[in-house]
C-alpha cells in the first residue's frame, strides 16, 4: 500500500520534472542553464522508464535466470530488462548531445564573449539587418 503510494508520488514528481525541464529550456537565457535543464528533463524521462520495469514484489530478482528458482517464480519476481536496455541507449545518446551542445556554447563564447541568449539575439539581429 505504502509502496504503491510511493510509486505514485515518484511518478508525479518525475512528470513535474519533465515539464520543469521544458520550461527551463524555453525560459532560461543562459545557454549553459538551458543545457542543464535539458539534462534534468532527459534524466526524469530515463527514471520514468526505469520505473516501468519495476516490480512491486519482495524480493525482486535481477533479470538473470538461475537454476535454483522455478521459471514461473522468475517471471513473477524478475525486473523487466527491456526498459533498462532502452535507458542505457538513451543515456549514451544524451551524453553525446551534451558534448555537442556544450561545444557550441563554448564556441559562441569564444566568438562573442557571452553565453546569454538575449545577447545572442542582439548580436545576430545586428548581423541580419
Amino acid at each position: 500500500m505504502i509502496a504503491a503510494f510511493l510509486i505514485f508520488y515518484i511518478t508525479i514528481t518525475l512528470f513535474a520534472m519533465v515539464f520543469l525541464g521544458i520550461y527551463g529550456v524555453a525560459t532560461r537565457s543562459n545557454l549553459i542553464k538551458k543545457i542543464i535543464m535539458l539534462n534534468v528533463m532527459g534524466d526524469a524521462i530515463n527514471m520514468l522508464f526505469i520505473l516501468i520495469g519495476y516490480r512491486l514484489v519482495y524480493p525482486v530478482f535481477p533479470p538473470i535466470y538461475e537454476r535454483h528458482i522455478t521459471f514461473g517464480e522468475f517471471l513473477r519476481r524478475a525486473v523487466d530488462p527491456v526498459p533498462q536496455a532502452l535507458v542505457l541507449t538513451a543515456v549514451v545518446i544524451g551524453m553525446a548531445m551534451n558534448i555537442l551542445l556544450t561545444t557550441y556554447a563554448i564556441q559562441f563564447y569564444r566568438l562573442h564573449g557571452t553565453v546569454d541568449a538575449r545577447d545572442m539575439a542582439e548580436i545576430m539581429g545586428g548581423e541580419r539587418e
Partner: protein
C-alpha cells in the same frame, strides 16, 4: 547482401573517414575520393534495395543478430520506404559531389563524416521496423545534423543556428522517448509489427497482454510524437530554428536537410498513422493536423515575402512544403499517403535543384544576401534558367513534377473540405510572388554598393569561374524534375501507387514479421 546492411554502408565508411584522413595527412583528394566512393556504394545499395522491395510481394524483413521481433530489433522495408531511401541516396550522392567543389575551408574530412552519418541516420529512420530504433536513428540523424549545420564554426550565425537546432531537437527527441514509455507500459512492446498486431487484435508469438487502456496510451503517444515532429519537421509552433539553421549551414547541407532530414518526422507519423495504427485517426487528431498544417503553410509563404537573405527564403519555402505534408497527414485515406509519398520525392528533387543553383550564385559572389546577389544571374544564364525551372516546379506549374504531387495533395484535401484544399492554391500563389521577386533580383537587379561588410554574412571569398560540376548536377536534377513531371501518370502507376497500397496493408506488414517469429518460436 542483406537488407540491414544498407544503413551500415555509409555508417561504416563514416567511422573510418577521420582515420583515413589522419593517416594520409588530410590529403584533400583522398578524402574526396573516399567520401564519393562511400556515397556511391550507399547509392548502389539503395538501388539494390529498391529493386528488391519492388520485386518482392511482401515487405522485406531483416532481424539484427537473427533475433526476430518481438525479442530483437528488425528492419522492415516496404516500397514506401524503399523509394524514399533511393531518393535519399541519390540526393546525398549529388550533395557529396557538389561539396567537393563548394566546401573550400579546412576540415573537409569532418564535413564528409557528418554527411555520411546523416545519410546513415536517414536510411535507418526510413527502414526501421522498431519504434525505439526509430528514436535511435532520429538521434543519429540529429547529432550529425547539429554538427554539420555548425560546420562554419567561426561564423556566429552557423554556431547560433546549430545551437538552436541542437537544443530544440534534443528536447523534441526526448519527448518521443517519453512517448515510447507510454506505448511500452501499455502495449508491452516497441516493435511496429507487434504494436500493429496488438492494436488490430491479431495474435503474435512471445508477447505480453495489453495492460490498462491502450486508447489512452495511444492518445498520449500521438500527442507526444506530434510535438516531436512539430520541431523536427519545422511545423508552425516549432519552426523557429529552421531559418537560422539553414542560414548557417553550407548550401549542399541545406539541400539534404530540406529534402530528407525534415521529412523523417512526416515519414514516421505517416508510418504510425497509415500502417501501424491504421484506422486510429480521431477527429481531434485530424483537426490538429489541419490547423497546424494550414498555419504552417500560411506562415511559410508570407514570411518568404519579407526575407532579405536567399537562404532564408528557401528555408521558409521548406516550412511551406512541410505544412502541405502535415496537412495531408490528417486525411487518412490511401490517396493522402500516395500524395505524401510522391510529394516527399518531388519536393526533395526540386528543392535540391533550387539549393544547388542558388549555391552556384553564392559560390560566384561569396554572398547570400539579396543585395549581394542582385544581378548575378546575367553572367550565368544557364544556371539562371535552371533556377527558373526549380522555382516554377516548386510553385506548381503544370508540366513539372511538383505540380502533380500538389494536385494529389489538393485532391486528398478535397475529400475533407474545399476550403482546406484552397489553402494549397492560395499559399502557392503567395510563394510564387516571393519567388518572382527573387528571380527578378537575380536577373535584373543592380548590385548594391557597400553591402556585405558584416563578417558573419560571408559564405567564403568570391570564386572565379563557373564550375562545370555545378552545371552538370543542376542539369541532371532539372532533367529529373521535367522528366518526372512529363511522365507523372506512368511514374505514379508504376512506383507510387503500389507503394501506397502496400503501406496501407497492415496485415502484410504484420505477417512479414509474424511468419518469421512463428518459425523460430514454435
Amino acid at each position: 547482401m542483406e537488407v540491414g546492411l544498407v544503413p551500415v554502408v555509409p555508417l561504416g565508411f563514416a567511422f573510418f573517414l577521420p582515420f583515413t584522413a589522419f593517416f594520409t595527412r588530410k590529403n584533400r583528394k583522398v578524402v574526396i575520393a573516399y567520401a564519393l566512393t562511400a556515397l556511391t556504394a550507399a547509392f548502389l545499395s539503395a538501388l539494390w534495395l529498391f529493386a528488391k522491395a519492388y520485386s518482392s510481394s511482401e515487405p522485406l524483413v531483416y532481424a539484427f543478430g537473427n533475433w526476430i521481433a518481438p525479442i530483437g530489433i528488425v528492419f522492415e522495408v516496404d516500397r514506401f520506404s524503399a523509394n524514399i531511401v533511393l531518393t535519399t541516396a541519390f540526393g546525398f550522392l549529388l550533395a557529396g559531389l557538389y561539396s567537393a567543389v563548394f566546401i573550400r575551408s579546412h576540415g573537409l574530412e569532418f564535413f564528409y563524416t557528418f554527411l555520411l552519418g546523416l545519410e546513415a541516420g536517414a536510411f535507418g529512420a526510413f527502414m526501421t521496423g522498431d519504434a525505439f530504433n526509430l528514436f535511435v536513428m532520429l538521434e543519429v540523424l540529429g547529432a550529425s545534423a547539429y554538427a554539420i549545420v555548425g560546420f562554419y564554426r567561426n561564423r556566429s550565425d552557423a554556431v547560433e543556428g546549430a545551437f538552436k537546432y541542437g537544443i530544440s531537437g534534443a528536447v523534441a527527441t526526448s519527448l518521443y522517448f517519453l512517448a515510447l514509455g507510454f506505448i511500452y507500459a501499455s502495449l508491452g512492446t516497441v516493435n511496429m509489427a507487434d504494436l500493429s498486431a496488438k492494436f488490430h487484435g491479431i495474435g503474435f508469438p512471445v508477447t505480453v497482454k495489453v495492460f490498462g487502456d491502450p486508447s489512452l496510451a495511444l492518445a498520449i503517444f500521438f500527442a507526444l510524437t506530434i510535438s516531436t515532429v512539430i520541431v523536427k519537421s519545422a511545423i508552425f509552433p516549432g519552426h523557429y530554428w529552421l531559418p537560422d539553421a539553414y542560414q548557417g549551414a553550407p548550401i549542399p547541407v541545406g539541400a539534404v536537410l530540406s529534402g530528407f532530414v525534415e521529412v523523417v518526422g512526416i515519414y514516421a507519423l505517416s508510418r504510425f498513422l497509415y500502417t501501424v495504427f491504421q484506422g486510429y485517426l480521431p477527429e481531434a487528431l485530424s483537426l490538429t493536423f489541419f490547423t497546424l498544417g494550414v498555419s504552417t503553410a500560411f506562415l511559410g509563404s508570407v514570411m518568404m515575402l519579407v526575407q532579405k537573405n536567399v537562404k532564408r527564403i528557401i528555408a521558409y519555402s521548406t516550412i511551406l512544403h512541410m505544412g502541405y505534408l502535415f496537412m495531408t497527414l490528417g486525411v487518412g485515406s490511401q490517396l493522402a499517403l500516395l500524395a505524401i509519398n510522391f510529394h516527399i520525392v518531388n519536393h526533395a528533387l526540386a528543392k535540391g535543384l533550387l539549393f544547388f543553383t542558388v549555391g552556384a550564385f553564392i559560390y560566384r559572389t561569396g554572398e547570400s544576401s539579396l543585395d549581394g546577389l542582385a544581378g548575378v544571374g546575367r553572367g550565368m544564364p544557364l544556371t539562371t534558367a535552371l533556377f527558373a525551372v526549380a522555382v516554377l516546379s516548386l510553385v506548381g506549374v503544370p508540366p513539372l513534377n511538383v505540380f502533380f504531387s500538389k494536385m494529389l495533395i489538393y485532391n486528398a484535401l478535397l475529400q475533407v473540405s474545399p476550403w482546406l484544399a484552397s489553402v494549397v492554391i492560395i499559399t502557392s500563389a503567395i510563394a510564387a510572388w516571393a519567388y518572382f521577386r527573387l528571380f527578378i533580383t537575380l536577373w535584373r537587379g543592380r548590385p548594391v554598393e557597400g553591402h556585405g561588410h558584416h563578417a558573419g554574412q560571408h559564405e567564403g571569398s568570391p570564386a572565379t569561374g563557373d564550375p562545370g560540376l555545378f552545371t552538370g548536377i543542376n542539369l541532371l536534377l532539372a532533367l529529373l524534375v521535367i522528366g518526372i513531371g512529363l511522365l507523372a501518370p506512368t511514374v505514379i502507376d508504376l512506383y507510387f501507387h503500389p507503394a501506397a497500397v502496400q503501406a496501407m496493408d497492415y496485415r502484410a506488414y504484420i505477417d512479414a514479421v509474424r511468419k518469421l517469429a512463428l518459425g523460430v518460436f514454435h
